[in-house]
């Protein structure tokens, strides 16, 4: 044992290997450009880097004008949904090593919302739909006692849809939303589901009414793009199907 320790000489600082990846970024500066343009950047990266690190490297070392949103950098705030190699992903949760770096990595803004600059879109229409479904507890007076009690089973009923971080990856992956911006979109339905199936909530009827609208759940064509895009792994299409059933039955 002791010999093994003795042989363990401090090794020379190991050089962490790097590699070069090419990022093709769809850029748009409303003050200069008539239309978006693709620009490529060769970035030196580590095995452990994510797309967000690559974007930082470009912004900090190559071109400070690159514009994108990010805040937490750890998949919590929902700021950095973008289209990476044709699919909606969070830049901060997409590891470069999971992508094929022998080809350029395509990065562009999410689809269906007005493009403002580079990777930034106007999120207002998205949040407007979210607000319309009353995404807050609508509870009446407490019945007996001081608390609104909920059993673990009742809590589990809507657990999946509590995980939403409002990143818009789902809504902007939906072919129906691309062509019909009036459609509430998966994220609004997910957040309605979170309260419709909450045993403490009493506003289910109101929300089901709102989502029974022409631009509500019936717009859904079950393409499953939203389920595939959700960085929280929420079974979005399943949640929409459950809301459809609740509307048919007239209750959650």
């Amino acid at each position: 044992m002791s010999t093994a320790v003795a042989e363990n000489k401090p090794a020379a600082a190991e050089v962490v290997p790097t590699f070069t990846a090419t990022l093709m970024i769809r850029r748009f500066d409303p003050e200069v450009d008539e239309e978006p343009r693709w620009e490529d950047f060769d970035v030196e990266l580590y095995e452990t880097d994510r797309i967000l690190d690559a974007l930082h490297k470009i912004k900090w070392e190559m071109d400070g004008s690159l514009t994108f949103r990010r805040s937490c950098a750890h998949g919590v705030c929902g700021s950095d949904a973008m289209r990476i190699n044709g699919r909606n992903r969070l830049a901060c949760k997409t590891l470069i090593k999971d992508l094929d770096i022998s080809k350029p990595i395509y990065v562009e803004a999410i689809k269906g919302l007005p493009l403002e600059k580079d990777l930034i879109v106007d999120m207002e229409p998205f949040f407007d739909s979210f607000k319309e479904v009353n995404p807050f507890l609508m509870a009446g007076p407490v019945k007996g006692g001081k608390e609104r009690k909920q059993s673990p089973v009742e809590r589990a009923r809507f657990d999946d849809t509590t995980k939403c971080i409002l990143c818009a990856a789902c809504t902007s992956s939906c072919p129906v939303f691309w062509t019909d911006g009036q459609y509430f979109g998966p994220a609004a339905i997910v957040n309605a589901h979170r309260f419709i199936f909450d045993s403490r909530d009493e506003g289910a009827g109101v929300r089901l009414d709102i989502l029974n609208d022409k631009e509500g759940v019936w717009r859904c064509r079950t393409t499953f793009n939203c389920t595939d895009a959700c960085p929280r792994g929420i079974q979005v299409t399943q949640a929409i199907a459950e809301v459809k059933q609740a509307i048919i039955k007239g209750k959650p």
Binding site: D33, P36, G86, L115, T222, T223, Q235
Partner: protein, 145 residues
Amino acid sequence: MPEKSASNLVAEPQSPPKIRSPKRPAGTLYRGKEGMWSWVLHRITGVAIYFFLLVHILDTALVRVSPEAYNAVIDTYKTPLMGLGEIALVAAIAFHAFNGLRIILIDFWAFGAKHQRTMFWVVIGLWVVLLAAFIPRQLMHIFGG
């Protein structure tokens, strides 16, 4: 005093910044999976069947206008080109019908959404089997075996 007087303290409301909606160069094609492509096919086949049915109802209605004209139209259905067209029609209807049942299951069966991908490949399987049975018969029919 007007109700909105407080807003006079704030700077004159500005017209919202104009955001030009850019057009080109187009972004990449969204890389959806089975779910998205089955929907694309469902819509294409649905619309194709719709136009066939429209024409077919019109040509059938022709029998009331002029039986001779009706016979002339129906005779064109017997040409090899139309025979091949019928293969395309059967292929479209078969896909639309099988996938339509898949969509019904996704919406109404509690585990439908979970198994949608498996069901898509079942749809493709059934479709291939049906066409494998139909196409040889139809070809014999067209080219007289």
